[in-house]
Amino acid sequence: MKIALAGNPNSGKTTLYNAITGKNEFVGNWPGVTVEKKEADLKRKYNSEGADVRVVDLPGAYSISPFTSEEAITRDFVLGEKPDVIINIVDGANVSRSLFFTSQLLELGIPVVVALNKSDILAKRGDKLDFNSLGKELNCRIVPTTATSGTGLLELVKAAIEVGKEQKKQISPSFDGKDSNDSKLARQKYIDQIIEKYQVKSRDASKVNISDKIDRIVAHKWLGLPIFFLVMWAVYAISIGGIGGYFSGYFNETLFGEIIPTAANGFLESISVHPILQALIVDGMIAGVGAVIGFLPLIMVLFFCLSLLEDCGYMARVAVLMDRFFKKFGLSGKSIIPMIVGSGCAIPGVMATRTIEDINQRRMTVMLAPFIPCGAKLPIITLFVAVFFPNHLWVGPSVYILSIAMIVLGGMLLKKIFVWENTSQFIMELPEYKVPGIGHAAFQMLDKAKAFIYKATTIILVCNTFVWFAQAYSWSFQPVADQSMSILASIGTFIAPLLLPLGFVGWQLGAAALTGFIAKENVVATFAVLLAVASEEALHLPGGALSQFFTPVTAFAYLAFNLFTPPCFAAIGAMNSEMGSRKWLWKGLAFQFGVGYIVAMAVTQVGSLIVYGSPAVGFIPAIIIAAVTTVYLVLKIKKSNTQRANMEIAA
């Protein structure tokens, strides 16, 4: 049996889904958190008869005719795949709006059970709903539930299974004018009628409430933006500088820097393992994976904070706040949500763009969202800051400011280059604030920690082993005395000329950037392996072994290069599916690569001139590249301008 969960956005479908399946899917307090359908088996606790029941969670929708692309997923599933039962989650905080969708679902012929969710809010407001009579009116069972505490869920699931077994066709309520031309209006009128009949409201929703008062501060014309930056700064200060940073420092310097390698070396020597194997284990696997796992505390604290932020309802306000600015360069306020989600990982970030109605705004957001440093890029930032800027606390946050600046500049550039009509309007539901669940955040944090460890022990481990092998052997599989004769060196040397205008000298930098496309943590891991073999100094110490490759200026440029060039393969895959066409994917990748390259080049060359008073290596090729890019952009913008002018004439 297949049970589908459908209902308005932010009505608590995923919370209910998590409760009855035992999953830990992501929930947040803003409309449009779920952008894909999800499936799982019903939890044993709710399935006393042991029937074969699958539960499908769907993205929220306001009606059966979709407004955004994630709403279309819901419609396609309900109409196309015909679940046996639909549990329609009705938002207790807004029953009358939810019933519009309910009445449409009732007409599909699929049995419907209504979950009157957030019934605690209903009770708190003092509103009364005669759900028994309402159920009779609609010809379906109505069960009051509170998904957050689990109240009423047993009864709900029981009712759904019963109805599903009966296999009876759902009879829809009839109302005047149902078949007329204006059936939509008749439907709304009908719902207004029954609400009047069965619901007693004791609260005037239009009165100013606490949420409104908070909104007047956090979404204030002038205060709003500083508050937002303060909040984000606090999140990163706590995770990078605070407890997260403290434990990560211990992990990196002491645990993976000394204790574990020493112990492993001692153990392997005592059982007299072959030195090559010992080197592979200690210098290859432990050094590489350890360099990544060391950042686990930092990542965990970051995700804990982000989870709290997403749970309380602040995100919807940030979208409102940003709309004014983002509109100026062709984005929507909703574009900020993919960016904040993207600060965890670019993939869900890119997928979160589905809530943006306008396809062009969506494409631009897909291109720009990966600029925000994701969790995997954090290790690179922290490592470089620790080594090159130990006494400059501003460098870490400045990376985020740089990325926001690049989103703004990139957005303005894209608006100039691409030709389209921008007519989209902004609307966003503002959910009421709630106290974020600590337990939920802790669960999320453990979940991410698990995923992080999994990643470090699979793809990062495999890459590291390859990197160790490739730096220790030559193409003829002979061990090399000098790394520069190895396989890795020859691959790195191949792309090194490309990086010369950026002031990056050495095959190691090319090789590390290359492994970064598989997973960004690999940049750190690759340096860890290369330096574990080549030098005795610890990787993370200020002025450590890394400084043989970089000056502080080129180090910052290398950071920028890794942040802005296209993200990892998995994220590129997500970009591909959200862009909707190969052509746009290539445009996006070219744009990202261009931005990453030019920014790194500018930082190196301009920075070197200012800080050291002399240009960095590759100054002349850099000037040539800068000139060519400028000419290209000027021509491109000119062309777009004529196109735009032609469009206006045609219109």
């Binding site: 306001y62 005719s65 407004f67 519009f100 929703a205 409104d212 007047r216 409102v320 309007q425």
Partner: protein, 71 residues
């Protein structure tokens, strides 16, 4: 009168909604159509916070311009 010109804190009756069909339909499903009540709760950061039925929405000025209301 356009909603964007309305006074904060007042409840109005929607007269008609202009604009693209897609947006009009969407507003319709939320309960914003001729004869329904709409309240302008506040103006924040260039956006208009409105109340339709039991929910708050933020809309931009362009959308506020497309909703005509009367007292």
């Amino acid at each position: 009168m356009k909603l964007s010109k309305a006074k904060i804190g007042q409840t109005f009756t929607v007269q008609n909604v202009e604009g693209k069909d897609k947006v009009k339909n969407f507003l319709f499903t939320l309960g914003c159509f001729e004869g329904e009540e709409i309240t302008l709760v506040s103006k924040l950061a260039g956006a208009f916070i409105i109340n339709i039925k039991d929910s708050r929405y933020a809309i931009d000025e362009a959308m506020a311009n497309s909703i005509c209301v009367s007292i």
